[in-house]
């Protein structure tokens, strides 16, 4: 398997604070890769640099063989990376369906065609019957799914999920996990996720990177990582083992 995304010694400072410090890793084509770590570890900063929302101070990000660091978010999205936001950001006054149509229009010029694509995705994520409601009227779990659907509508090669199951009930977590695994298996979608909910990480990720204070402290399979003493110390806590 080749690397779809490769980060080389990425750093980002905010004034004096080093948010991300020389982090490097590779996400292989077709795998599900998770980044975990305590609050303030630099996970979202890392994400924002990959998605183009922030420019790294140092280092390079190679996606699909081409550097993408410093490109604007819309260009990064057109290259094939779609993201969700930790605090969900649907277009509130637009209908659920129109939210997804916006994403689908990235690679389709006809609105009708984009609508068909949107409806197929909404069916798959159990949002079809709510498609005419304004996005602002959805519950948080539904809005989280809508965020994923809108990102998927842009037909990404790599999907960035920022704490997409946080705040969901365990049954909802399992449902979303199942759909994501299905997408990964059926269409070979590569997924890079930031996640706090270990239940989802353990169920989905092939490999995990652990961040703490902006540096990578461990990398490996989920089973290896949760046994790593440094990880237990900094993040999971003794009772998690």
């Amino acid at each position: 398997m080749t690397a779809l995304l490769s980060l080389q010694r990425i750093s980002k400072r905010f004034r004096g604070l080093v948010a991300v410090d020389g982090v490097g890793f590779e996400v292989r084509q077709g795998e599900i890769f998770a980044v975990i770590g305590p609050n303030g570890a630099g996970k979202t900063t890392l994400f924002n640099m990959i998605a183009g929302a922030l420019k790294p101070d140092q280092g390079s990000i190679i996606f699909d063989g081409r550097p993408i660091h410093g490109l604007s978010p819309d260009v990064v999205c057109r290259r094939g990376i779609a993201r969700t936001f930790q605090l969900v950001r649907p277009f509130p006054a637009l209908s659920v369906e129109d939210n997804v149509v916006v994403g689908a229009l990235l690679r389709r010029h006809g609105v009708g065609e984009a609508r068909q694509r949107a409806q197929a995705l909404l069916r798959r994520f159990d949002l079809f019957d709510r498609r005419h409601r304004p996005a602002s009227a959805l519950t948080l779990p539904d809005r989280k799914r809508l965020e994923v659907v809108r990102a998927l509508a842009t037909e990404p090669k790599l999907l960035l999920l920022d704490e997409v199951v946080a705040g969901l009930r365990p049954t909802e977590v399992d449902r979303l996990v199942a759909v994501l695994r299905e997408l990964n298996r059926d269409s070979g979608l590569t997924i890079l996720m930031i996640e706090h909910v270990m239940r989802a990480v353990m169920a989905l990720a092939a490999r995990v990177l652990v961040l703490d204070h902006g540096t990578a402290i461990a990398e490996g399979t989920p089973d290896d990582v949760v046994r790593d003493p440094a990880v237990v110390q900094s993040y999971l806590g003794a009772e998690a083992v």
């Binding site: 819309d74 999205c77 916006v102 994403g103 609105v111 984009a114």
Partner: protein
């Protein structure tokens, strides 16, 4: 099953809208035979306001960019066409073709400065005011357009209406502005339901999320400003040939910009019917007030402005989305279900 019934409801709503529109258009087409000169002039003012409101709505209602300086684009349209007519004998339709790129370029300059350097929200609005003010003060000192003394179009009596040179009676002007309003409505509808309309609304709702979904926000905001500005310039051309005199102090006045946004605000920002409904409600009521006061022998300058203020206040408090959205629901014309 439910999909079929939904489709029928939606079909019913659009059929009702179509019937309503056809009725309204029939009444407006017949108006010159029924209305006296005064009423016809009021209707011209209403349609003018409906037209400019629609043009402004493309920027604010569709793409979420608040312009408080749209008088600039109308003013440029007025001056470009008037100068071409007075100094070179070129008719208003050719003048309009020249005015569109000038107004669109002005919009592009403002848009570029704002969007390139992250000037957004109220600061963007202030920038639009500033440019309209530059134009007002600038044109006041341009000798070629007779500066503050004003530019006058030659008025000649014509035996019959000359549509090509826009010389004629109010009935002709009425049909011209009616046609322009209908054309603007069709254009707005096409834009709103096209790819670009979806991107605009995404930008309006959440620009960062739009960009994350791959929308090239800079480009589509630029397109919105340029279309809106170009469309508004026609209102200026009409103004010049209808009133036959142009004073920078008047055409570029911030009051003109504010008047343009009142209709859509009252009717419903971002909706297709809002600007038109708002124009009828606002100008219709204001003129009724005028007529009523005249009947009672009252003469209060500024009463119209006070009345506009009261209307705005009532709408903002009672109907923050404007008059159209609740009215559409009441009439069963709303397409989206709650």
């Amino acid at each position: 099953m439910s999909a079929i019934s939904l489709a029928r409801v939606a079909g019913g709503a659009s059929r009702r809208i179509f019937v309503l529109l056809a009725l309204l258009l029939a009444v407006l087409l017949a108006a010159p035979w029924i209305a006296n000169d005064y009423l016809l002039t009021v209707l011209i003012v209403i349609l003018y306001s409906a037209f400019t409101g629609q043009a402004w709505n493309i920027m604010m209602g569709f793409a979420g960019q608040l312009s408080l300086g749209h008088a600039l684009y109308a003013g440029l349209g007025a001056y470009v066409s008037a100068v071409l007519f007075v100094d070179f004998g070129i008719g208003p339709w050719i003048g309009f073709l020249a005015a569109v790129p000038v107004a669109a370029a002005a919009g592009a300059i403002i848009g570029f400065l704002a969007f390139r350097f992250g000037v957004a929200g109220v600061y963007f609005a202030i920038l639009t005011i500033a440019f309209a003010e530059f134009a007002r003060i600038g044109f006041d000192h341009i000798a070629a357009v007779d500066a503050s003394a004003g530019l006058f179009l030659p008025v000649r009596q014509v035996a019959h209406n000359d549509l090509w040179h826009l010389r004629g009676d109010p009935t002709m002007f009425y049909y011209v502005i009616l046609a322009a309003t209908v054309a603007a409505f069709i254009l707005c509808r096409l834009l709103l339901e096209s790819r670009i309309g979806y991107f605009w609304r995404a930008i309006r709702e959440d620009e960062e999320a739009a960009r994350a979904a791959g929308v090239a926000t800079f480009r589509y905001k630029m397109v919105a400003v340029m279309i809106s500005a170009g469309l508004t310039s026609f209102a200026g051309v009409f103004y010049a040939f209808f009133y036959n005199n142009l004073f920078p102090e008047q055409v570029f006045n911030i009051g003109r910009s504010i008047e343009m946004i009142l209709g859509p605000v009252i009717g419903g920002i971002g909706t297709l019917f809002g600007p038109i409904l708002g124009a009828f409600v606002l100008t219709g009521l204001a003129e009724s007030l005028n007529a009523a006061m005249a009947a009672f022998g009252l003469d209060m300058p500024g009463a119209k402005q006070v009345f506009y203020g009261v209307c705005l206040l009532v709408v903002i408090v009672a109907l923050p989305q404007g008059v159209w959205p609740p009215l559409a629901r009441r009439l069963g014309l709303a397409k989206d279900k709650p």
